[in-house]
């Protein structure tokens, strides 16, 4: 046997490789069955990062569908309510480069809540139908009102209102919700000119 192989080194090499291929192939096959990933847990992770406003500004009907779309390669910059931080968290999760948000920069991350000017409400229920989180109470011909606690500020109720009695009010800071801002840090004066930062991606 040994002598045969030493006389035919090429044959020995081919056979050896073949054997190796068989062994490792079997290992791979076993691993593929044993460690099969069920479903797509990444969607859950993405969804947990999204703000759940269900606003549809990403052009998907709700946060979950957008999460699924991101998992399938959709851009990560289509969630204005989540703002910059959500986009960066998504970039981290997906291992992609951060991209500027696809929205009007003035409105990004601004927390709002819907408000019904109740004198003008005619009780048409159109906003109730539009609200994705059932945060508007009322019945036909009865005045409606927004449950502020549950309103996600998605603005979906504004367009359907036939009498334009819906307002999106920015949530105002009160003494109770006020908080200290982050100090400016050293080099505050030169911050605007800084062209490279120490943060960001490793």
């Amino acid at each position: 046997m040994t002598t045969f192989f030493s006389q035919h080194p090429v044959l020995a090499a081919v056979l050896g490789l073949l054997l190796l291929a068989l062994v490792f192939g079997a290992l791979l096959g076993y691993a593929a069955i044993r460690y099969k990933v069920e479903g797509n847990p990444i969607v859950e992770q993405i969804e947990s990062l999204l703000p759940q406003t269900q606003c549809g500004q990403c052009s998907y009907p709700g946060c979950r569908p957008y999460a699924e779309a991101i998992a399938n390669g959709e851009e990560i910059n289509k969630c204005p309510p989540g703002g910059e931080s959500t986009m960066i968290a998504l970039a981290d999760l997906m291992g992609r480069d951060p991209v500027p948000l696809d929205a009007d920069p003035d409105t990004i991350g601004m927390k709002k809540v819907a408000f019904i000017r109740e004198d003008e409400c005619i009780g048409c229920t159109k906003c109730i139908i539009a609200c994705p989180v059932d945060a508007i109470v009322g019945a036909t011909k009865l005045m409606h009102t927004v449950i502020e606690r549950d309103c996600t500020g998605c603005e979906l109720c504004v367009a359907p209102c036939p009498v334009d009695c819906m307002d999106m009010l920015p949530i105002e800071t009160t003494a109770k919700t006020w908080s200290w801002s982050i100090p400016q840090g050293p080099n505050a004066r030169f911050q605007a000119n800084v062209f490279a930062t120490d943060g960001g991606q490793a």
Binding site: W180, P183, N187, R189, F190, N193, F195, D198
Partner: protein, 347 residues
């Protein structure tokens, strides 16, 4: 009066970064004076030249980084780095070595990492290590103590030596005790000491004196509470203990603890370099580990390594380890049962 919104506390201890740095610089003065007295003008020229280069580099690089150079220059941190570098380099080092060292220390080791507070490695030691690697010969030649020579190099010839005529310096240089001991060849330690031609008693005396001067400066800082005792004690303790054990086991092959502790850069390193807060471990426990690690590394490298002295390498290696030490030496917070080890993320 203006109504201003300031976060508490409204009181502040009258001690600022620039004062801390100034204290440290002041504390180096006894050492510098002793060096100048014992080894001539070389060390003083080193310190002044390195400082001048360092401040210029700092200003330039801050301008390039579009930051205001004045506050940074005023905080004395660049000055301190260059003073330490100047003290660590052999006297009468040529000017271009000082320039290169200052450049590496300030631009590469400090500012490229983000400036004060952000550098992971001790800038002076980075520069020292680079110079040591790049110019091993120049870096291991130390000028002879003044009392050994018939005439010490005066200020003019010192300056000549620094600017352009290194051969002048060559005439005054000799090996340091550590270097001599390292290259004693096949000689046993006691034989080596008997051969006074290689390492006369007076050389040893000069080194010990300057070491003590640095130690005094360090004790001043300790008294001023600029740093805590942990790092120097752990460093000197572990080095002393290891060398004592080795010397006790085999006095003929290992240098005595006295040589380890009172020659080379041991004292400078223990009080001025390892204690650099930016690059050291932070908690008290961590500082003990950090200092002890340096001591062990110094002993190991001096005994079995290629280079005669090892403070720079040891400090840099422990700088590497500082974040890890911090990670595992967090104190137990008030109201908690156990200290937390590291950061654990949920899966």
């Amino acid at each position: 009066m203006a109504f201003i919104r300031v976060s508490s506390p409204h009181l502040h201890r009258p001690l600022s970064t620039h004062q801390v740095m100034r204290y440290v610089i002041l504390a180096t003065l006894p050492g510098l004076a002793t060096l100048t007295y014992l080894f001539g003008w070389g060390s003083l020229i080193n310190v002044l030249l390195a400082s001048a280069f360092g401040l210029v580099f700092e200003a330039i690089v801050l301008k390039m980084r579009k930051r205001n150079p004045m506050p940074a220059l005023k905080d004395n941190s660049a000055l301190l780095t260059c003073v330490l570098l100047g003290l660590a380099l052999p006297p009468l080092a040529p000017w271009w070595m000082l320039a290169t060292g200052s450049f590496v220390a300030i631009v590469i080791a400090k500012q490229l990492y983000g400036g004060l507070g952000n550098n992971p490695f001790n800038p002076a030691m980075v520069a020292y290590a680079l110079l040591l690697i790049a110019f091993p010969v120049e870096m291991t030649q130390w000028i002879s103590p003044a009392r050994l020579l018939e005439h010490t190099p005066d200020l003019v010839s010192s300056l000549q030596a620094v600017f352009g005529h290194p051969q002048i310096a060559d005439a005054f240089t000799m090996a340091t005790p550590l270097d001599g001991f390292k290259h004693k060849g096949e000689l046993m330690a006691d034989e080596y000491w008997r051969q006074n031609a290689f390492m006369p008693e007076k050389v040893w005396e000069a080194w010990a004196l300057s070491s003590i001067a640095f130690m005094l400066g360090g004790l001043f800082l300790l008294w001023k509470k600029i740093f805590t005792w942990h790092i120097p004690v752990a460093f000197l303790g572990s080095l002393g203990l290891l060398s004592l054990l080795a010397y006790g086991a085999d006095a003929s092959n290992f240098a005595s603890p006295m040589i380890h502790l009172f020659s080379g850069a041991t004292m400078l390193g223990a009080f001025f370099i390892a204690t650099d807060p930016v690059t050291a471990a932070t908690s008290n426990k961590g500082k003990l580990w950090f200092g002890a690690g340096i001591g062990v590394l110094v002993f190991v490298i001096r005994t079995w390594g290629n280079y005669p002295d090892a403070v720079a390498f040891s400090v840099l290696l422990m700088n590497f380890a500082a974040p890890l030490i911090d990670y595992y030496s967090q104190p137990r917070s008030f109201g908690h049962k156990k200290p937390r080890k590291g950061i654990k993320h949920d899966a």
